[in-house]
């Protein structure tokens, strides 16, 4: 069975946009030319990935208190939320 992500990619977490954030972060953090910028010298690519994945996990856990925009410290344990389950908008082709 093959699922097409179409031009933009497949929606996953936060599938409201055409490209899943996790897919994007795979590429923007682990990919791209790594130049030593003037201000980001201390941040190596690997650290970025770790940092961001932690950010993702934490905020998934905190997702339900996301109603208030200035979010306090997110301390909820990471968990997945069936509401966010991918699939909406993805066309499945059974083979």
């Amino acid at each position: 069975m093959t699922v097409s992500g179409g031009t933009g990619g497949s929606p996953g977490i936060f599938g409201d946009q055409e490209v899943a954030l996790v897919d994007l972060l795979d590429r923007l953090l682990a990919g791209g030319v790594v130049l030593t910028g003037d201000l980001t010298i201390s941040l190596a690519g690997v650290d970025l990935v770790r940092l961001s994945l932690r950010a993702l996990l934490v905020s998934i856990g905190a997702d339900e208190d996301r109603a208030d925009p200035d979010r306090g410290p997110a301390v909820t344990a990471p968990r997945w939320d069936p509401e966010l389950e991918a699939g909406a908008g993805v066309t499945e082709v059974r083979r």
Partner: protein, 265 residues
């Protein structure tokens, strides 16, 4: 030169023959407009952004704020993807920041040859992603809440004894392990086919279920650099090879983020 400024230059990508009009009406990170900074016959796509948001310390903090991270990543991607449709581009990693445009120009001069090589390499090529998941239903015992799976809870048996429960549980775990092993092998085989039909390939780390928001376990998160003219062929090869017992998702075409670093990529 140590002029005190409160803004810095955020660089998205370096390109060649970027059409002049393609940056009009384009909104980048922090809602800023995008300009081209020229040097060595190349153009860097740049936005002037507030220093306070992009200083090293601040950035480290900001990267843990998902709202900010998502907005910035999407804005970065929007610029790269939009301009990349009209010109060859080498994307930079997220949040590459220089003091000012003069520094960006200097980097273009210093590394012009390198960028030109990368542009030659990526021109006319696109990246595709292949993700393979083992469906929860295929791995008995993986879904705790038992999404109406047959076999795990036969009705006629009535109440199960502790021993019976354990026996079934053990069998389910064994089956789940076999299903996972077989899914990994399928994923490896598919990766081989997809790689062979591509110019280069690379495996990103697989996502935890917490990240994907689904119960299916990811077993492959591959990226493939493909000649645009042959992307239909590549796609067909992957479709043909996609095994039935797993779910295969294809994403793309992407600007080749995962392949900017040459052969080792």
């Amino acid at each position: 030169m140590s002029v005190v400024t409160d803004s810095v230059s955020y660089v998205y990508a370096v390109g060649r023959e970027v059409p002049v009009g393609s940056l009009d009406d384009l909104t980048g990170v922090a809602g800023r407009e995008v300009a081209a900074v020229a040097g060595s016959g190349l153009q860097a796509l740049v936005s002037t952004v507030p220093l306070e948001d992009f200083s090293g310390e601040k950035l480290e903090e900001r990267l843990q704020d998902l709202t900010w991270l998502a907005e910035t990543a999407r804005a970065h991607h929007h610029v790269v993807d939009t301009v990349g449709r009209a010109a060859a581009l080498v994307p930079l990693a997220l949040a590459t920041v220089f003091y000012d445009e003069a520094r960006v120009r200097a980097v273009l001069e210093e590394r012009g040859a390198e960028f030109t090589r990368a542009l030659d390499d990526l021109d006319g090529r696109a990246e595709f992603g292949v993700k393979v998941y083992l469906p929860t239903g295929a791995a008995p015992g993986a879904g705790e809440k038992g999404t109406a799976e047959k076999g795990t809870g036969e009705k006629g048996a009535g109440r199960t004894t502790g021993t019976e429960y354990l026996r079934r549980r053990r069998a389910a775990v064994g089956a789940a392990e076999r299903a996972m092993r077989s899914a990994r092998e399928s994923a490896d085989a598919l990766h081989d086919v997809a790689s062979e039909a591509a110019v280069r390939s690379r495996r990103h780390r697989v996502h935890d279920t917490a990240l994907t928001g689904r119960t299916d376990q990811m077993v492959l998160n591959g990226a493939y650099l493909v000649d645009r003219a042959r992307s239909g062929e590549w796609r067909a090869a992957v479709d043909r090879a996609a095994p039935g017992e797993v779910t295969v998702e294809i994403t793309g075409p992407w600007i080749p983020y995962s392949f900017v670093n040459g052969e080792d990529g």
